[in-house]
Point group: C2
């Protein structure tokens, strides 16, 4: 019923191998024959069967993209960029969601391994060992996590966290909270370390609250603890939590940024829409998606396993303001902004 290479061969009076070559090695076939074959193929509506091709070549032209949570607004731009980029190279993308569960993650990679030419592992929650193990079964590119010897693309969230903390310090905050992300997250560790070190060097205090699931609800739930800590500024693991916190604080009549400053991370589409607009660290997620796809596809060719770091940017909006130790000059946000440079 479906039109095969054999139908095309018969209809154009050549052997099936010629038809095959017309598609996969055009330079080996006479231009005249080629155009005749292409014409009949077009006319018959022939499409190569990818399963058959995969079976013999061992390459499926599919890649897997595994994320912790599709509904987390951090991921869709990455998925979108990766998918578009992959399609341009004639690859199709399986997208799967682990629900932040390392076990599901492991299962998923193994189930997908034989069916794809490589897997993009985004913000994995597995252990380094597990990932290194998997690497032996299937080409892998890890996003947002650094594991020695494994190709990776990470966003330099440590630098972002440092900038964010410096921004808060410059505004006159000395008692900070880091509203931590999920256990097993490399990003979380990076942020905590960078933020902690930056605060410590400046003689400021940084309390860590967590770990937490990286969703809005936990941000909201942390409001009490934040207030109880006496801190005047909060850095959250991501915008979702920051926004949840923002809302919970407002519900309690706490003024942001008057009484408490809040900084998020990711710059998801909505952090500019909430009021006050969220100060946050912008992550180049689309670029990360594209780069990761490129690395994965190149990996097949040569054996290069680079590690790419993408820079992040602090975006100062209205959720951060002067703290109790604000220098007399820098009391308005205008001036505080210039501290960044």
């Amino acid at each position: 019923m479906a039109v095969t290479i054999r139908d095309v061969a018969r209809a154009s009076g050549v052997h099936i191998s010629t038809v095959s070559r017309t598609f996969s090695a055009p330079h080996l076939v006479n231009p005249e024959t080629r155009s005749r074959v292409l014409a009949t193929a077009e006319q018959l509506g022939y499409r190569p069967n990818r399963a058959a091709r995969a079976l013999i070549t061992g390459r499926t032209h599919n890649i897997g993209l595994i994320v912790a949570d599709i509904a987390n607004p951090f991921f869709p731009p990455l998925i979108k960029a990766a998918e578009t980029h992959a399609r341009r190279r004639d690859y199709h993308v399986f997208v799967a969601d682990t629900d932040e569960d390392p076990i599901v993650e492991l299962d998923l990679v193994q189930a997908l391994a034989k069916q794809v030419d490589g897997i993009l592992l985004c913000s994995p929650r597995m252990t380094d060992d597990q990932i290194e193990q998997l690497r032996r079964e299937v080409p892998l590119v890890v996003v947002n996590r650094l594991i020695t010897g494994l190709p990776a693309v990470v966003m330099d969230v440590g630098q972002g966290a440092r900038e964010a903390v410096r921004h808060l310090l410059a505004l006159g905050h000395r008692d900070l909270v880091y509203l931590a992300g999920p256990r097993g997250s490399w990003t979380n560790r990076e942020i905590r370390r960078a933020a902690g070190a930056t605060a410590r060097t400046a003689g400021a205090d940084l309390t860590v609250l967590g770990p937490n699931q990286p969703v809005e609800e936990t941000g909201a739930a942390a409001a009490e603890a934040v207030l109880a800590s006496g801190a005047t500024a909060v850095l959250a693991y991501n915008d979702l939590m920051a926004i949840g916190l923002l809302q919970a604080l407002q519900d309690r009549g706490v003024d942001v940024p008057g009484q408490v400053s809040v900084v998020g991370i990711d710059d998801i589409a909505y952090s500019g829409l909430v009021r006050p607009r969220l100060t946050t660290v912008a992550n180049p997620t689309a670029a990360a998606g594209r780069t990761a796809v490129d690395m994965l596809l190149q990996q097949g060719d040569d054996g290069t396993t680079g590690q790419v770091t993408l820079r992040t940017d602090l975006i100062i909006r209205n959720s951060t303001g002067p703290g109790p130790y604000a220098p007399a000059v820098a009391i308005d946000a205008e001036v505080a902004t210039t501290v960044k440079e």
Copy 2:
């Protein structure tokens, strides 16, 4: 290198067909043999090659999921639900993004057709004819669009729009604007028709502004036109546009809902986070994703082609308030809410 059915057969002393049956028709093989085969398979780390299986059975155990824009927050919950549901049935999901372009959409479906057992077409922008044509090449389930004879799951956005308009009328608005969505969207037509009819019956005025790309920017860009129209209430094609409009109005010093009321559609995660919180029509996107997958997979079994309609719910928050013709009694949102029942 990869372990095949042959390796397992050799290692457990049976013929490959017995191994095959152990997996695909267990009842045909002696329990004793079966467990022996399973044991060696497990030990060798055998995984059936899906390409080979697909080649002979004609079923890939993959499905395609095509959406207009992955980054549009309306879709991720649907994608997530569909993927999870499909995986539970041992199907993998290709996700692809058309960027709201009917041509890309057509290409995509055709490229995917031979490679999947069916396709979920979400909010397609193609013509009915094109879709009916495709239906002949590959099993299809259409989401958010009704085409006679085609299996579909739609959210009853007409009912939602009616409720929304009634809510605005009850609040005392008589000059309404419908901020329209993209050309080619069935949902858009449904909303316009339902909203228009409801307004007309009540003797109110409904101006249509559009068509527009369904993104925040167009919502913001429409602020001028909305104000110029003299309308006091706006129904937007989706929350994204509603939020954009909200923000643009506020930037112009227009009070929402004091001067203008705004209603969105979709109830994306963030419509409850903006201020004022957005009154909107909630769509059961996750349920739609699951239902669509079920319909697609059943379609193979029997020939049933149902059309399922999922109900929507008006969620009244703070972006809507009394209009110029408000009845004296119902001047506060509290009372207005009860109008809904």
